[in-house]
Symmetry: D2
Subunit: 239 residues, 4 copies
C-alpha cells in the first residue's frame, strides 16, 4: 500500500468563482478522487490553511509520495515546512510537482535553478507526446494525448536537464515544453508534470489521472539503506 | 508474475573442472535458484547447446526479462538469434547482462561501443558501493558489500555513459569500475551487473542474488503503447 | 585547425531534378560552403561514388570531425567502411549525423536501436527551439528559429536518451521531435541534427549553418589519453 | 581571453600554521599560479575578508569562470553574495567548486541536496581514474593519476546524478568517490572536482592543475542567447 498525500494551496477555489465551478471541493479533491480509484494506494489530502499547512512531521513520516499543487500563495508556505518536506525527500519520500508548482519553494530548492518559463492563458490545445516509451510513467498511455483547453508553458524551462524526459508537449500557438521530467535527489524520486491550470478541468482527464497514478507508483521509496555519512574509519589497512 | 529466462552459454562447466566444482548444474542453475526463492517471478533457463540456443521466438515472446551469461563462446551465438533478442528488447523485454556478458554480441550491439575493459584474475576483493540509493535496484542492500574472491574489471569500461549508475566497485589492486549500469533502448530496459567470474561462487552470494532479483523487477516491461512509426498524416491542418 | 570531412551519398542529385536544382553541386558542397566561411576549420568532402566512398583510412586518420548525409543509398555503404568509421569514432573522431542519416548504418550501429521515427513530406514549418541554452552548440542562436519548408520528423524517435538534448522541434502538423542530440561513444563525440531534406534549401539557412559549425567545434577530439584495456597488473599489492 | 576569478575563504591560512606552511600566500594563490601559466586565461583572486567577499557585482560581471574553495567559514558567506553568484551562474558564468566547497552555500543551493559525504583525514593515497575519456576536462591526462597524501571522501556523496561523470577516485582505505562531476544549471556550467585538502600540497600537483585549467575552458560561457520568459504571445494563430 503506497501512502499518498495530495497537497493543494486551496486559495483560488475560495476567491475565484470560475475555479470553484470547475473544482468545487478543491483541486486536491479532484486529484485525490483520481487516485482513490486505483488499487494499492491510500490517499489523504492536506492544504495550506490547515495548521502547519497539513504537513506535520507525523503526516510526512506517514507519506510515501507527496503531490504538490500551488500557484498564487507560494510565498505563504512557511520556510520551516519547506525544509521539512525537503528532508523527507532526501530520506526517500517521493514528490510529484504539478503545473504551477514549478514556482513553489520546494521545487525551486530541489532544482537549484529559477524554474522560470514562458506562459500564456488562451485556452489552446496541448498535445502531450510520449518520448520515453520504456518508462513506467508511460504505462497504459497512447503515444500522445490531447488536452484542450490548457494554459501554454513554453521553453526555455529553466530546470536542470531531467534525469529522464518522459513527455514533450506541442502547443497550438507554436511552442514546445518538456512536460514530464523525472529527477532523483537524495533518496527521493521527483516527477514534474506540466498540465493542470486551475480554470480548466484537466484533473478530470482520464489520461492525466493515469499519468499521476503512474507517477505515484514510480516515485514510491526505493527501499535502499540510508547512507551513513561523516567521519569514516578505513575499511582496509593504510600503507 | 514476471517471466524470467536465464541464459547461459554453459561451456566452461563442460570443459573446466574448477567451474563444474563451483557450479555443478551450470551457472544458470545457480542464478535461477536465487530467483526461484523470490515471490512473483516465474523462472526458466536456456543454454547455447539447445536448438536455437533455447531462445526460440516463442520462448522470447514469453519472456519479460532475459538474463545473459556468456564468456568463451560469444562468437558461437547465431547472429539471427542476436537479432531476435534485439527486436524483443526494442519491443520492451528487459535484459540483464552479467559479468563477461559485456563482450556478448547482444550487449555490444545494444551499446554501440567496444565494451572493452581492464581485467585480472587474481582472486582479490571487490567492494561494491551503492552510488544511487534512490534506485530500486539498491533495495534492501547495505551501502556496500564485499565479494572475495572476484575477478577484477577496471576502467576505462568502453560503454555509453549509463542512464543511471547504481554501483561503483573498488578493487584491492587499485582499480575502480562502474559495476551497475542501467540503460533504456527502444522500449526495453537493460541492466549490466559486473560480478560473476565462473570459478568463484559469486552467484550464491545473497546480496548478489538480491541485486539480480531487484534488477529483474526493475527491468520488467513498462506497459507503454508500442510507438507507431513511418509515414504520418498531419494532426493539424497545414497552413 | 579542425579538419572536417563532409560526406554525402550524392545520389539524389544525380537522379532527381528537383534536388539538383536546389543543390547543383551536391548537398555536401552547400554544407562545406557554410563551414568554409568559418575560422579555424579546414574542410574537404567525400562521396559514396568515390573509391572506398572517399573514406580511406588515410582520409579518416586526417579527419577530426566527419559530417554524414545519406538517405536512399544507406545499404550501399560498404560494411567495412562502416567499421572503419566506427573505429575512428571510438578513437575520438567527432561525427555529425544530419537528417535522414538517422537510418545510416553508422548511426544505427552507434545507437544500438532502430532509429526509426515518423515522417511526412509536406513542406510545412519547423520551429527549432533551444532547450539547452548552456550548450556551446546553441552559441549565437536566438531562442528559436524557423525553417519552412521542411520535412516533418516526429516522435517517438527510437534513439537512446541523448546525453544532452539541445533542440526540440515544433511542427505545424502537430508533432514534436528531439532535433539536436549529443552522445559520447568511446572517445568520440556525436551530434545528431534533424533538419535537411534534400528538396529544400535548408543547408543555405544561416542558422542551420551556425548549428553545424558549432557542432563541429563541439565534436572535435577531446585530447584525452587513449585508454589501455585488457589484462592489467595490480597497482597495489594484493592481500 | 577567459576571465577567471579564484575565490578562497582564506581562513585556515591565518589560524593554522600547517596550512600556512603549505600555502604561504593562500590556497587561492597556488590555484591562481597554476592558471596563470596557461594561455588565454586572465586570472584574479578574491577572498572572504575583502569587502563583499571580493565578489562585487562588477567583479562577477567581469568573471567568466569563478573557482570556489571554502571549508570552515561557509556560514560566514553572506546570503546576498550567494544570491548574486547564483544569478550570475544562471546567466552563464562558469563555476568550479573544489574539495570542501561541496558544503558551500552556493554549491548546496545549486544542487538542491545535502551534498554530504564520508571523509577521513589520514594522509592516504587517492587514485583518480578517468571514466569519460571523451571529455575535454580529461585532455592531456593519463588514464589515472595519484595524489598522496590526500583526505578521503567516500560515497554516498549526496548530489544529483551528474550530467557527466569524468573522474572516479579509488582510496587506499577502501572507498570510492565520484570525483569529477559536471552540471549545467541555467546557462551556467558547473564542475565539481574533489581533491584539495588544505594541509596537503595538492594544488601544486601538475595534473591537478591540468584538470582545473581544463575545467575553466570547459566552463566558459556558451554564448547562447539569454532565454526570454514570462507571458508570451502566440507565434501561430490559435484555432
Amino acid at each position: 500500500m503506497i501512502k499518498v498525500t495530495v497537497w493543494n494551496e486551496f486559495r483560488h477555489e475560495h476567491i475565484h468563482e470560475e475555479v470553484r465551478e470547475v473544482y468545487p471541493d478543491g483541486l486536491h479533491r479532484a486529484i485525490a478522487d483520481g487516485l482513490e480509484a486505483e488499487d494499492g494506494l491510500s490517499v489523504r489530502t492536506a492544504t495550506l490553511p490547515e495548521p502547519e499547512h497539513g504537513l506535520t512531521q507525523e503526516v510526512l513520516d506517514g507519506t510515501d509520495v507527496l503531490i504538490w499543487w500551488g500557484h498564487m500563495a507560494h510565498h505563504e508556505v512557511d520556510d520551516e515546512i519547506v525544509e521539512r518536506v525537503h528532508r523527507r525527500v532526501m530520506d526517500g519520500m517521493g514528490l510529484i510537482v504539478l503545473h504551477s508548482g514549478h514556482f513553489s519553494k520546494i521545487f525551486k530548492k530541489l532544482m537549484g535553478t529559477s524554474c522560470d518559463l514562458k506562459w500564456r492563458e488562451a485556452g489552446e490545445k496541448e498535445r502531450v507526446w510520449v518520448v520515453d516509451p520504456a518508462h513506467p510513467i508511460a504505462a497504459d498511455l497512447p503515444e500522445y494525448f490531447e488536452i484542450k483547453p490548457e494554459e501554454m508553458y513554453g521553453e526555455h524551462f529553466d530546470i536542470p536537464a531531467p534525469d529522464e524526459l518522459v513527455f514533450v508537449s506541442w502547443f497550438e500557438g507554436g511552442e514546445v515544453f518538456r512536460s514530464g521530467c523525472t529527477y532523483k535527489r537524495g533518496q527521493g524520486r521527483i516527477f514534474y508534470f506540466r498540465p493542470g491550470h486551475e480554470t480548466y478541468p484537466t484533473y478530470y482527464h482520464p489520461l492525466v489521472r493515469r499519468v499521476i497514478a503512474n507517477g505515484v507508483r514510480w516515485a514510491a521509496p526505493s527501499g535502499a539503506a540510508k547512507p551513513v555519512r561523516g567521519n569514516h574509519k578505513p575499511l582496509e589497512s593504510l600503507g
